[in-house]
């Protein structure tokens, strides 16, 4: 029997403490490497990175935008469960919340690194510029992170030992009963910050690659970022559920839950693709020419038109078709493959909006330049991935995050 058996949920099996400790040590080593890179950047400055006068944004902002989109599985699963009433999602909802919590904490950590002066991070709240979409993003992300913490609390309180404390048990139970209130607040906040993240790019009238026409007061990127987030968030949740199940070697949920998640991701991805293609055609035919540029001016150097085909074709239309097919999404290979493509497409989208937008020459003396991140930028990225793996590993070991596990493994 494992030495920490008294903390492990009743009726389930976990690997030995020694094996688990080795895994945790590995994750801590990766996190240490990232923390060292962070320390060096704070000490020596942003000149250690690949960013320069051309690229004020780089890997970190791409990562921020990508993980916030991919973390949308938490709010959207909560919305489907508590507002729409999809009770089947109970089987994976705790994991979706934990994944979202990790994504948002990681995004805030990387942002703290990226701004270079995290000690002044509170300025954006205290001296808010209400005309800035970034201010709206900062407020919404911070408040939504609080909501995620509230959603995580009953999961933590369900730990075998903590649950023995009467007050904790009752509070956790009541928090769970009132979760619809927080899920609704989280949905509202998420819609706005996902949208405003896109809106930030759409209003860049000096950057023709990103600039988009307005729909009421928001550029089209506002809506497109929301759609892409709700299409990719459930896909990442599906992938992580599948990985945890494979790594544990146990059945953690019924297979139809994964298929349902695939169907949700596929339907939303298909809708997003239709809107994205219309938006891209309008941008290429109307918006870019109105600024004296052509579609081909937008692609060059290392940032060729292949990025567009990869984003919309390979990582957009193809996974949408796979996920919309009941036969294909019922098979792990196709489901997980399509979800991976879906997530990759969203990462490419966030990459081109961040990096390619800046790479395109817009002044007579500008030329195509390439941004290459240094290891000081890669290491914090691996740090947050390792951190997410650590939180999920600890949660899986000590918390009953898969309600169907005991029943499926008698």
């Amino acid at each position: 029997m494992s030495k920490d058996a008294f903390l492990i949920p009743k009726g389930v099996e976990r690997c030995s403490l020694g094996k688990f400790s080795l895994w945790v040590l590995f994750l801590l080593a990766v996190m240490g490497w990232g923390a060292f890179a962070m320390f060096m950047v704070f000490w020596k400055g942003l000149n250690l990175t690949g960013m320069n006068n051309y690229f004020g944004f780089g890997l970190w902002i791409t990562l921020d935008l990508a993980i916030i989109a991919l973390g949308a599985g938490a709010f959207f699963s909560g919305f489907l469960r508590y507002i729409i009433g999809k009770k089947e999602l109970d089987a994976i909802l705790p994991l979706a919340v934990i994944l979202g919590w990790c994504c948002y904490l990681s995004a805030q950590l990387i942002l703290g690194l990226d701004v270079g002066q995290p000690i002044r991070g509170w300025f954006i709240f205290w001296h808010a510029n209400i005309h800035s979409m970034l201010t709206e993003v900062a407020f919404c992300i911070t408040l939504y992170f609080m909501v995620l913490c509230i959603e995580y609390i009953p999961i933590i309180l369900s730990n075998r030992k903590i649950d023995e404390i009467r007050e904790a048990h009752v509070f956790g139970h009541n928090l769970h009963l009132n979760m619809a209130i927080f899920a609704a607040a989280g949905t509202f906040l998420s819609f706005f910050h996902q949208g405003s993240l896109g809106g930030m790019f759409g209003v860049l009238f000096a950057r023709p690659f990103a600039e988009r026409p307005d729909v009421y007061v928001w550029p089209t990127t506002f809506f497109i970022f929301i759609l892409s987030a709700i299409a990719s968030g459930p896909a990442l949740t599906t992938i992580v559920c599948w990985i945890v199940q494979k790594a544990s070697g146990r059945r953690l949920f019924r297979r139809d839950v994964l298929s349902l998640m695939g169907k949700i991701a596929g339907s939303l991805l298909a809708f997003y693709m239709v809107v994205k293609i219309i938006d891209t055609i309008y941008w290429a035919k109307v918006v870019a020419p109105s600024m004296g540029m052509t579609f081909s001016d937008m692609y060059g150097g290392s940032y060729g038109v292949w990025l567009l085909w990869a984003e919309i074709g390979i990582c957009g239309i193809i996974p949408a078709i796979i996920l919309l097919s009941p036969k294909l999404r019922d098979r792990d290979f196709w489901l997980i493959g399509a979800c991976l493509l879906n997530c990759t497409g969203i990462v490419i989208n966030r990459f081109v909006f961040t990096v390619q937008t800046l790479a395109i020459p817009v002044l007579p003396f500008d030329e195509w330049t390439v941004y290459i991140p240094t290891w000081y930028e890669w290491a914090p990225m691996f740090m947050v991935i390792a951190f997410t793996a650590l939180v999920i590993s600890l949660s899986y070991r000590y918390l009953p995050i898969f309600p169907q596990e005991r029943k499926l493994n008698p």
Binding site: H127, H131, M146, N178, A185
Partner: protein, 63 residues
């Protein structure tokens, strides 16, 4: 030569987000109305949960 008089000198950043420091107008009212509204919903949700918990504990706890 920049015409200094033509430059928009409107202050877009606020002194603090405390209600008495906010220059209340239509734009700030929307932004901070919604922000405070969400904060109130979250706080009331937590307060209601805490009250339910106290009530349940007085009754002997949930089983």
């Amino acid at each position: 030569m920049i015409n200094v008089a033509a430059v928009d000198h409107t202050i877009h950043s606020i002194q603090s987000f405390l209600p008495w420091d906010i220059p209340w107008n239509s734009e700030t009212a929307v932004f901070f109305g919604v922000t405070y509204g969400v904060i109130v919903v979250i706080v009331l949700g937590l307060a209601y949960t805490a009250l339910m918990t106290l009530k349940d504990l007085k009754k002997g706890g949930h089983h």
